[in-house]
């Protein structure tokens, strides 16, 4: 067993985790930032294609309060407005800081270029060409992390459990993926920055480590989750033809830049039949677009693979070349010529609005435990505005690191009993078999769970389908999970990690399903076919926590800001 000790331990090294590590180090804390994958390579950040929303006002006059208005409107009454305001206001500073760190925001004549993304009142989203925002952000932060002496990096460290003593988070139990060795981390503060849960859906745009482990660990540590029923489905994920080496959500940036036409199986435009305007622009809200596509397919007007067509054949090839440069070559490699044929698209699970309940310092109700990035719930309410995920990672990461460091400074660290690690890791021990043929695998069960979540707890839900899902999820937790034989291979035992991931995924799936059953209305990303309208009495946040082995839900009033946006604007001017 290896023991390490640090002021701030950051779980997850995507945008939020790396920003938290940098911010904590700036406060003089020593930091360990860990990722199950490699630092900056796993998680959602590196997959980001384009838009980063922030009222930097380079393209047209803007103010963060306008960004806040759009964020709150998209959130359908459920935004924790205090968190939303922090996100919008501080994103401006973070965007400029990332600029100093040479992220390479796209520019024309010195000004940052900003595009108009769906749901925004104006051109607000900065980006890095060509469709390279995520990798550029990851690279810039990786560089900043590497050059700060106070930060130790731990690639290939899978965190399994937060250690809580006397009601406070004091460390974590982890497994070194390559060696299989147990690692006991003692920490003054822990920042959960390990992302969301979209991997639990059959069609998703997530990296493989987005299976909800941050939420499950927070639940088991005693923290509350909030609004877990709100999973964002991105309307135009790539469906066909088969494409490799490209992100399935890549068509969105294409539409920001040149429009493109969404057509049903009969090659007719249809978005306008669902109360939204689209015609060449791309301003239909994501939930409306998803609903329209779903309905077209359901009513027999889908494309051959069960989606709709996205066509660019009306756009000048020279314009395409200028706007997308090397992307066109990558498409050609996949046999796709946008001048000759349309592609098929359909909704895909993209982001989780729900998450760990925190205050404005990113603190959970468990002292010492913080959260950042997509792992945090509340800032985006019932639907996230396009472009808010990356600024959320920056802003909440920075705050979690800063406030976590301050907490750690005033706190003494006691050594953690080694037996505790043994107990934490004891659960699947009896299921490990040397050289045995695997008897059912965690990956096969994960595939079943993904299909179940997609079919029953997906875009359009009914009470009946949700109840069926809940029953099967609980059965999988009780029986299937316990009956898997895990091959006992010490170095790089992915099958063991898959088991832990499945355990976490099932707890999250149960949380989402239970929360969806409890919300008898349709709001934002939570659409109940059996109850199609929103109900004012449910303009409340739903909380969920673990009491023993049982998930318990409750309701909380939505935190609102006490000032008017006009007052804020006037104060600045």
């Amino acid at each position: 067993m290896m023991r390490v000790s640090t002021d701030v331990f950051v779980v997850g090294a995507g945008g939020a985790g790396m920003y938290a590590a940098i911010a904590a180090a700036r406060e003089g804390a020593d930091v360990i930032v860990a990722d199950k994958s490699l630092i900056s390579r796993g998680g959602a950040t590196i997959m980001a294609q384009m838009t980063v929303a922030s009222a930097v006002g380079h393209e047209e006059p803007d103010h963060w309060t306008h960004h806040l208005s759009d964020t709150i409107e998209a959130g359908h009454g459920l935004c924790n407005e205090e968190l939303s305001a922090i996100l919008c206001e501080e994103s401006v500073t973070r965007i400029h800081e990332m600029d100093e760190w040479k992220v390479g925001w796209a520019r024309v004549e010195g000004r940052m270029t900003q595009v108009h993304a769906p749901g925004h009142g104006l051109k607000r989203c900065v980006y890095v060409d060509y469709l390279n925002t995520g990798p550029a952000v990851a690279r810039a932060l990786r560089g900043e992390v590497a050059q700060r002496p106070g930060i130790r990096r731990a690639s290939g460290l899978a965190v399994i459990e937060i250690v809580v003593q006397n009601g406070e988070a004091v460390g974590a139990v982890a497994i070194d993926v390559e060696s299989g060795e147990t690692v006991l981390v003692e920490a003054g503060a822990i920042v959960m920055a390990a992302g969301g849960l979209t991997k639990l859906y059959k069609r998703n745009s997530a990296s493989i480590n987005m299976g909800g482990e941050a939420y499950a660990m927070a639940l088991r540590a005693g923290a509350e989750l909030i609004d877990m029923e709100f999973v964002q489905f991105f309307p135009i994920g790539h469906l066909a033809p088969r494409m490799v080496g490209m992100d399935p959500i890549m068509w969105d940036p294409f539409r920001y830049k040149v429009g493109g036409r969404l057509l049903n199986g009969n090659f007719e435009e249809f978005i306008h039949n669902y109360g939204a305007s689209d015609g060449g622009n791309y301003t239909a809200r994501r939930d409306v677009a998803s609903y329209a596509i779903y309905k077209e397919v359901e009513e027999g007007r889908g494309s051959p693979h069960g989606g709709v067509w996205l066509s660019f054949d009306h756009i000048d090839p020279e314009v395409m070349k200028e706007k997308f440069g090397p992307m066109m070559g990558r498409l050609a490699k996949n046999g796709i010529d946008l001048q000759k044929s349309a592609v098929e698209v359909s909704p895909i699970a993209h982001y989780h609005m729900g998450g760990i309940r925190v205050d404005s310092e990113m603190k959970t109700r468990i002292p010492g435990l913080y959260a950042a990035g997509e792992a945090v719930g509340g800032a985006n309410g019932a639907t996230r505005l396009s472009g808010n995920a990356i600024p959320e990672a920056f802003v909440f990461g920075e705050r979690a690191g800063k406030f976590g460091a301050a907490f750690a400074k005033g706190r003494s660290r006691a050594p953690i009993d080694e037996n505790l690690a043994t107990i934490v890791l004891s659960e699947p021990k009896s299921q490990l078999k040397k050289g045995a043929a695997p008897d059912g695998s965690a990956t096969a069960l994960m595939t079943e769970l993904q299909a179940l979540m997609w079919d029953n707890v997906g875009l359009f839900r009914t009470g009946e389908k949700l109840e069926q899902a809940l029953q099967r999820i609980r059965e999988m937790q009780r029986d299937d999970l316990r009956n898997i034989t895990i091959p006992d291979d010490a170095p790089f035992n992915q099958a063991l990690l898959d088991w832990y991931e499945l355990r976490a995924g099932l707890l999250c799936a149960e949380s989402v399903t239970l929360a969806a059953i409890n919300r008898p209305e349709s709001r934002g990303a939570h659409q109940r076919e059996d109850i199609p309208d929103a109900s004012p009495q449910f303009e409340r946040n739903q909380t969920i926590e673990l009491a023993g082995d049982e998930l318990v839900t409750g309701w909380a009033e939505v935190p609102r800001i006490s000032y008017t946006l006009e007052e804020k604007q006037a104060a600045v001017i």
């Binding site: 290896m2 390490v4 360990i32 860990a34 994958s37 490699l38 630092i39 390579r41 796993g42 590196i46 997959m47 995520g134 990798p135 590497a146 002496p149 930060i151 130790r152 990096r153 731990a154 690639s155 290939g156 460290l157 070194d176 390559e178 690692v183 998703n204 745009s205 997530a206 990296s207 493989i208 480590n209 033809p241 088969r242 494409m243 490799v244 080496g245 490209m246 992100d247 399935p248 996949n334 695997p438 695998s441 965690a442 990956t443 096969a444 595939t447 895990i486 091959p487 291979d489 010490a490 170095p491 790089f492 035992n493 992915q494 099958a495 898959d498």
Partner: protein
Amino acid sequence: MSEDLKTTLNVYRGAAGEEARYEQFEVPHEEGASVLDALVWVRENQDASLAFRYSCVSANACKECMILVDGKVNYACTAKLNTGTVTVEPLAKKKLIRDLVTDIVPPKERLGSPDAE
């Protein structure tokens, strides 16, 4: 359409210090499938103990899935899966950990390594 097509995946198995062996898996072949798709299929349906690295969803963003495909360095996610026999092996110039996993972690990103700061 292409339901009957198969690929035989010839896979290097074993940890560092063990004698190398190759195992064959028959994998269904779909139009446009990648070598990574085939490896994931094996893990899910044939042998959960097969070790290989990847993180992003075939977007070629994480760059973790670099292996040898028929003797050539390639990303498993962008290497098209051919029919017939495809041999996959760990990178030859990196230290082997197990199966297709090699030591690609920068030394300074390793907790407890003497190179770590």
